[in-house]
Structure formats: structure tokens, C-alpha cells
Symmetry: C2
Subunit: 554 residues, 2 copies
């Protein structure tokens, strides 16, 4: 990358053209500031990948230049990569109070807490390095302590909004409009702004309105409330717990991440309720139904989370009883629509009332709509504009909004992950690429599930597998055992005897022929097996299973 | 099933608790009337199932009683099963004009057209059998010739709505409210009514409004229009073609199902435009962009359909050029959200403008909302009510609406597929079950992909596979070749040499030990292989691949 000495470089290792694994880099000369280190959950749950992180190559090669990792807020798509990053390079981390609490929980799980250097920041602080300095401005989002970040560099200020909406009646602290206006007034070289809802006209509904709906539901429910939401949506937990107290209900918490989130929120006093509000899970059957709230995980239909287990009768402590009201206080992300749908149907089947969906005002986005994005643009008044945190269509629409707000067309850039923008007061241009990409995490392996493995899983899942094994004596040119055919995920073998027998017969004849011809090249024999079997099976079944020929030699 | 002689039996072989594979049965004594024969598309595209049909066992066992198959309208979830059904039993089919046209196309593809007995019906006809007779009433839906069906039986009239909305300003003929009122007036024993939108308040937007949006978009687009919708949505095709004519554009049609649908609509005069409106695909680059409409398939993100190929630059004749406007005139069904999303992003990337989604009023549902369902209930005034065509939650909400409209709670029934309701004027009750279920169609196989194969495909897709092959000489108790380890979808073998070597070493030692112990039971040896390898691989990788031990004997 060809950045001049008087320029500042801005790029993303994740978050451009996608929702997830956010990681942005601002570099001035030998000072690198990283903003966020998130994970992304794979869209396709079937292929067994647990999560995806960015390629950290550039950071590993430039570790001596890194000044710090600054975290905008505590959601997994912004902090989930930290344990994987810290395993490679130990760098100081900066974040708000609850952000650090959530990072600590995570590092503890990975056994990495002791080495980590965590620095708590408050809005008024300024973190100074040799050439750059970092300051913060409070925003509103679906979690407390969400900050926008200003990276002050000699060529100018780079502003990163973090995830934001403008909730004028928030549950926690309001956004610091005054400070944003001041930042804008002082001059901003480039704005990196959250694009999630750039296709949504208007303003996002206030979290306060959700609180009213929760109150209403709790007061009208005659039995237990089972309330499922994101554990990380601390405001939502707070509102649910407060509604429970108002309605004279006790709260039992289920699901490990939910327990930890509630604990943290109580520790940090984001939830302030009488001590006896929370009851142990063993107590819920001892008090009457209309006095119970069950707060649980699983609002995205995750099969192992509490809500799914409750719906399917697989939960150790909770079964649906008549009169139960299940509140799903979340929107399914697109990949989870079907799973959530199944759980809702199942809950109805077992007799629960289910309240979910936009009609009931029990969820709102954490991201601002078009008017909020325009408000940010008008407050910050940047010279250059980089939409971030969004799929391509969202980045594209966000650029349109920026141009409507007076940013010159040529000063708006849509980058891919890895593409480097070099800026100064007079010009901005793309100057190259740093390594970037997706690294799959599956089980304990990081990056060992590559494209070939994924491709194989896809074929296996769609067409199944046919294994052909044959043992050959290559000296006497004889088939000494087999060919045996074993299949998985292709046809049910016990009911496909004729097909398998015919295939075996054809293979035997052909292998004997190959032996007569004294063919000894394994690769050739394997090829011959595949080329005989593939077309035969396709003709008979119209399917193309993966064919795996195995040759044993005695 | 224990239906008394004076009772009529009503049940579904598909369509209860699901969207898809609709098939309803009304039986009075020895007369069976079948309504619809649909398919369902699997939610999970990965597991390779092409489509799902109902279990036809009951019909095959009672073929002598079947009087006819009556089709409400020509959508695949109502007609797609016909070729599979006709392969088993040849029965007369009744349907409206375009419905039969679409069925003919389908039967032709399956080479079954010659034997089929197809009877075209019009609204005023009555089809009479010995004890039962069938009449029809016109409804509005997203395809012409949609009918509700009245099965007149001695115990009373059974009314099936088909799919419907009440579009008071339809593109085709209006619903016959007068006839519905008369049917209600004469007395209805049981109503089976479409539940799709029972969770949607209000009225569904008129198709006419979509037409206005299409006009507006066509008039404002400065380049080509690429218009993607369901081929079966004849009204939408009609409106798109008419808008093209109004705006002085020519229409080129892409995608096989779209070509056939347009041809049929022209033949049957549902589309009436000047002859030179349609141009050959080779012509589109010869006239100027603002005079071109490309009508194509792929509105659900299907990877092989025209729109996806255009977006990804894989279409032989169409590449996106600057100024192109792509209109996606459809809503993605939940399982397709991600694929449609990917296509939209890709279209933006290659420079197209994309118009889609509810904000643009370019799509409306074919199914009525709550007020329309209530209107149907008030017109038909049934004694008993059976919500059909919906997931459990939709059936449940529909029952609530019926009760609001005065149907007695005990007279509403939510059935599972196969559950039989026996009715007469005085009572209705569940009297048993007929065989029902899902039959998978994959390639040319019908029903040969059962649960075991699906389970295997799922494991393979999430964890991959490890094959262990060993050739044994069972007389001399010697390992003569192997053990060899081959994996697919597990780890990339070239980069996992250490893991595989260590596993192989452990297996070799253990197999030698088994030979010393003179173990000759294959099942025991296979077990030992799995039990050694499984825990070892899990400890090393935290993954649980399918392990497939294969023993060859010489």
C-alpha cells in the first residue's frame, strides 16, 4: 500500500459489504489505531462453521505500530474476535465500562484474561499517542456505553460512529449531540458511519416505546411470562426486569449468557431493583404463575438455547403450562427466520400464547434510520465519507444519503474489506489492498476449514457420498477383495440392493479388465472407477453423489 | 377411521400445519372428492431434496372410490403433485382454464399428458356424481381462474375456499360475492378456509396498486427494465407487459417457466397486446435501452434462474449495463431471504438500480388479511370451521377470527395432516387417522430419500466424514493393508498430516492388537475403530465427523 507520509490511511479488515466481524484501521505513519474486533456468524448453519473472524495478517505483520484496540460497544460483532486476536498479538484494549465487562467475561472463557491489558475509558477522556490521539462521544444504541470515536491525526480528524441511532427518549444516557456538533465544528476529514438501516426511511422507534409495550403485556398476562431477548441487549433486560417489579413479579434467569449479562448489569448498576426480585430457578414452581417472569436466551431460534428447549419439551426445569405468554423481544436476522418460525409454531402447539413481531412494538432496532444517518452527517460535516457496517446495498444507499446532505459525490467511497483509502486535506484515493478475508473457526480449529472442506461439505449435504473400496494385488494384477460399495446420504442402502449390486457387478468387470491390461497407476484406476460409477448412478437416480474410490494394495 | 354412514369425512393429506403440498379430501360413503394435489419445496435447500409430496397411500388403497381431483387454481403448491399422483393412479382432473393449461405443461414435461383426463370447468357448472355434486365460486387470487369449491353431500355442504383474497379492484374478474352469499344462505356444514395471512390485520393491497407502481417505475427508468417475478403470477406478467406497451417498450422473455407462462397467457388471451410487443432475445441489444423490458424468472433468488445468472455475470445474453433498473416484484419466502439478499447486493455491485421490497408497492400477497378472512366467514356462515393452508400459528389465529365471527368454539377444529373429522348436522368429531406424511423427491427417486439419508447428509454437512479402510487376512489374523484414513469435509488433509499420521499410528497398533486377540467379528472391529478414532479426533479438533470404518477381507 502506497500511503504518503502526510496522508492518513483508513481501511477495514471486516464490516465492509457485510454485517459482522467489524474491524477498522486508521493508520498515520507508524501509528495504527484499531477500532473494534468482531466476529460474524455464518449465514449457513448447516456447514458446521461456528464463527468467522477477519484475516489478521496485516496486524500481525505490523504489531510494533499498533497503539491500541478501541472498542465502540460490547456486541459480539464488535468484540467477539478479541480472544482470537489476542492469541496472536497482545495489544492494549480500550472500551467503556460495560464493554470491558463483556470483554472480560469472554476472555475468561478463553483463559486469556490474565494477560490482557484492559483500559476503561469515559466520554471525556483523551488517549494520547505520539502523533495521534483518540477521543469519544456518547451515542445511543441497544447497549449502554456505546461510543463514537474520533482519531485525531495531523492530516485531520477521522470520526467513526460505532453503531448508533438517535434515541431522544433512551432508557440510558442520551447521545451527546453537543459534543458531536463541536466535533463537526472543529472540522472532520472523514466520517465512517453505520449503514445498517440506510434503506429504512424515517426514525427508528425509541427503546422507551418498547418498555411501554412490555409493561402492557406483563400487566395483561394472566399466567407466567417467558421473555426471550438478546443477552447483550442490556436496556431490554432492564426494562423487562423493571416491568416485572412494577407488576409484582419475580424474575428467574435461564441460559448461561443471559445469567452473565444480568449479573454484569446488576454489578454495574444498569439494573437497579430490589434484591429479592430475582429468584432461583428452583423457585419458579413454588410461586403462583402470575407472579413469574422467566428471562431467557434463544430469541434467534438457536436450537441449544433455553427457548428452543422449552418449546420442544427438552428443558429440564421449564415446561409450557396453560396460560404461559412467551414474548420474543427481538427480530430474527434473515438466516434465522425459519428457526424462529418453527419455535413460534411449536410454542402455539404446546399451548402458549406468543407475542412477537413488529406488530406488537416489542422490539426496535439499535440502528438509526435514514433521518438519523442524515442527522449524523449534518452534525459531523465531514469532507470525505465512508459508509461502513453494512452489505453493499446499504453502503450504496448510505452514499446516496450523504450526497443528499451535501457531501461531494467524488468524496464518497465504498470500500471492500482490505481496500486502503489514503487521505489528506486535499485529496483522497484508493492506494491498494492489505490482506483481508474470512477465517473460519470450527470447534477448536481456527482457519483450518478452508474452501475445499466447505465445498466438500456442501456436496455431501446435497448429494451424499459413495465410497468404493477395492484391494488389489499389484504384483499378480488381481482384485483380491471388493469392490465394496458403501454410501452415506445417497440412498438408503438396505432398500437399494439392486442398484448397488448392479454397480458392483459393473465395477468388478471393469476392474478385472484393468488388471488384465496391467494398469497399476492408482490415479488411473481411481479415475476409471469414478467415470464408470458417476454416469451409471446419475442415469439411475438423477443424482451426483461424491464418489470416493479407495484402493488398498497387498 | 370410523366414519358413520350418515357422516361426511373431511381430512387433509397435506396443507395442515404447513404452507405447501395442499391436498384435501372429502369423503361421503364410497365417494371420494380430492381437492388439489400440490408440492412443497423443502425449506432447507442444502440437503438436496428437490420437492416434497404427500403420502398417497390412502388414495391408492381407495382408488375405486375416487370421483375426481378438483383443482382450485394453478399454483405449484396446488398442482405440482399431479404428475406424481397420476403415475400411481389415473383419475379425472377438473380445473379452470388456465389451471388446466398449467397442468398440461407439467404433464407434458413428465410425459404423462396423453393418458390424463382433464376436464375444464367454468364457474356455473355443477359436476354430479351418485351421491355428491361439486360446484364452484370465483375468487380473487394472484392467478386467474381461482375457484372456491362446494362439495354437496347428503349431510351438508362442505366449502373449500382455495387460496383467496378479496381484491375489489382486481386485474381480472372480481370475486363472486353474490354466489358466496347464496351458498351461505343455503346452509354450509363446514368451511375450509385459507389461513396464510391470519396474522395480518386489515386488507391485502390490491393488485391494481401494484400496476400503478409498475407504470410509475417503467416511466421513470432511463435505461432497461429487468423485471423478475413468479412465472405463475399471470396478473403481474400482464401488468408488466401492459406497462411496457404504455411506455413504448418491447418485451423479451427469459427463463423457461416464464416463456411457457407468457405463451399460455397469450394463448388464453389473459395478455392482450400488439403482436410486435414481444421481441426475440437476440433483439435486445439492437434497440435502445429505454425501449427494453426483460421479463425473467429468479425473483426468489434461485441460483439457476435468469436473475441470478444475470447478477453474477453468468447469463449468456444479458449483462448488467449502466442505467439498468432491476425490479423484483415478489416477496422472498422465509427460506429464500438470504439468496434474494445476495442477488440484490450483487446487482448493486455490478451497477444496477434495484427496486424491491414492500416500500415500493411492487408486490402484494395473493392471500387475504384478517378482514378478508372474516368477510369469508360472514358470507359462508358455516356451522363447523376448519382452518387450512397454514402453519400451526396461522391456523390458530384463524380459529380466533372464526370465533370472533360467531362460530362456536367447540365447532372449530385444528387438524394435523391425516386426522379425519367426521361430521353431520348434529355433531363433528375426530375419528382417527389415515396414513399421511412427507415423501421426498430427489432426482428421479420418489420416497427413497428417507430420514436416515437426510440425517446422514446433515451430519456430513456439519462435521464431515472420516473413512478408515483396512484389509485383513482373517485366516492368518494379519493386517495386510492399511489402515488408511481418508476424509472429506472434515479437515483439509494436506495441511493435517500430523493429525492423520497420529490417528493412523494409533489405529495400526490397536488393529494389530485385535489380530493378536484373534478378533474376527467385523462389527466388533468396526466398533473398535470408531471408538478409538472418534474420541481422539474430538480431543484434537472438537469436531465429531461421521466415521465410516470399512473392512476388506482377503
Amino acid at each position: 500500500m502506497n500511503v504518503k507520509n502526510h496522508q492518513v490511511a483508513v481501511f477495514a479488515l471486516g464490516g465492509m459489504g457485510e454485517i459482522g466481524k467489524n474491524m477498522y484501521v486508521v493508520q498515520y505513519q507508524d501509528e495504527i489505531i484499531i477500532i473494534d474486533a468482531g466476529v460474524k456468524f455464518p449465514e449457513d448453519e448447516l456447514l458446521g462453521i461456528d464463527l468467522v473472524i477477519p484475516d489478521y495478517t496485516y496486524l500481525m505483520k505490523n504489531v510494533d505500530k499498533i497503539k491500541g484496540l478501541f472498542i465502540t460497544h460490547g456486541h459480539l460483532d464488535h468484540i467477539g474476535g478479541i480472544p482470537y486476536l489476542l492469541r496472536q498479538i497482545n495489544i492494549p484494549i480500550y472500551g467503556g465500562k460495560i464493554t470491558l465487562g463483556l470483554i472480560r467475561n469472554q476472555l475468561e472463557e478463553h483463559g486469556l484474561l490474565r494477560e490482557a491489558e484492559l483500559n476503561e475509558i469515559a466520554e471525556e477522556e483523551v488517549v494520547k499517542f505520539n502523533k495521534t490521539s483518540i477521543s469519544f462521544f456518547r451515542t445511543t444504541h441497544s447497549i449502554p456505553d456505546s461510543y463514537g470515536i474520533v482519531v485525531n491525526t495531523p492530516p485531520g480528524n477521522i470520526v467513526h460512529t460505532g453503531d448508533f441511532k438517535f434515541d431522544f427518549t433512551p432508557v440510558g444516557d442520551p447521545a451527546n449531540l453537543t459534543k458531536m456538533a463541536k466535533i463537526g465544528e472543529e472540522g472532520v476529514l472523514c466520517l465512517l458511519s453505520d449503514s445498517t438501516n440506510s434503506e429504512m426511511p424515517g426514525f427508528t422507534m425509541s427503546e422507551r416505546k418498547v418498555g411501554e409495550s412490555i409493561d402492557h403485556i406483563f400487566q395483561n398476562a394472566e399466567g407466567r411470562i417467558i421473555f426471550a431477548t438478546f443477552a447483550s441487549n442490556i436496556y431490554r433486560l432492564q426494562q423487562a426486569v423493571e416491568a416485572a417489579v412494577k407488576d409484582g413479579r419475580k424474575v428467574a434467569v435461564f441460559g448461561r449468557s443471559m445469567e452473565r449479562a444480568v449479573e454484569l448489569a446488576l454489578d454495574l448498576r444498569y439494573i437497579n431493583v430490589p434484591k429479592d426480585t430475582f429468584i432461583d430457578s428452583s423457585q419458579i414452581n413454588k410461586i403462583s404463575s402470575e407472579r413469574v417472569v422467566i428471562l431467557c436466551t434463544g430469541s434467534q431460534g438457536e436450537p441449544m438455547a433455553a427457548l428452543s428447549r422449552i418449546a420442544h419439551g427438552r428443558h429440564r426445569q421449564i415446561q409450557i403450562i396453560p396460560g404461559d405468554t412467551v414474548v420474543i423481544s427481538a427480530s430474527p436476522i434473515p438466516g434465522n427466520t425459519l428457526s424462529v418460525n418453527k419455535i413460534i409454531n411449536q410454542l402455539y402447539r404446546v399451548g402458549a400464547e406468543v407475542i412477537h413481531g413488529p406488530l406488537n412494538d416489542i422490539h426496535t432496532s439499535g440502528h438509526g434510520g435514514q433521518e438519523e444517518q442524515k442527522l449524523m452527517l449534518r452534525l459531523i460535516k465531514p469532507k470525505y465519507f465512508l459508509p461502513i457496517h453494512g452489505e453493499y446495498r446499504m453502503l450504496k444507499h448510505h452514499v446516496q444519503l450523504a450526497q443528499n446532505c451535501g457531501i461531494v459525490e467524488g468524496n464518497c467511497f465504498i470500500l471492500d474489506n482490505g481496500e486502503v483509502l489514503a487521505l489528506d486535506k486535499n485529496e483522497a484515493s484508493l492506494v491498494g489492498k492489505v490482506p483481508s478475508g474470512s477465517v473460519n473457526v470450527d470447534g477448536s480449529g481456527i482457519g483450518d476449514i478452508g474452501n475445499i472442506v466447505i465445498r466438500d461439505r456442501r456436496i455431501l449435504s446435497e448429494e451424499g457420498l459413495v465410497v468404493v473400496v477395492v484391494t488389489l494385488n499389484m504384483k499378480e494384477f488381481k482384485v483380491v477383495a471388493g469392490p465394496d460399495i458403501i454410501s452415506r446420504g445417497f440412498v438408503y442402502m438396505r432398500e437399494s440392493g439392486d442398484l448397488i449390486n448392479e454397480a458392483q457387478k459393473r465395477l468388478t468387470d471393469h476392474l478385472n479388465e484393468l488388471m488384465v491390461r496391467k494398469t497399476t497407476q492408482w490415479s488411473e484406476i481411481k479415475n476409471e472407477i469414478s467415470e464408470l460409477l458417476g454416469p451409471f448412478l446419475y442415469a439411475e437416480t438423477k443424482r451426483k453423489p461424491m464418489i470416493l474410490p479407495i484402493i488398498m494394495e497387498v
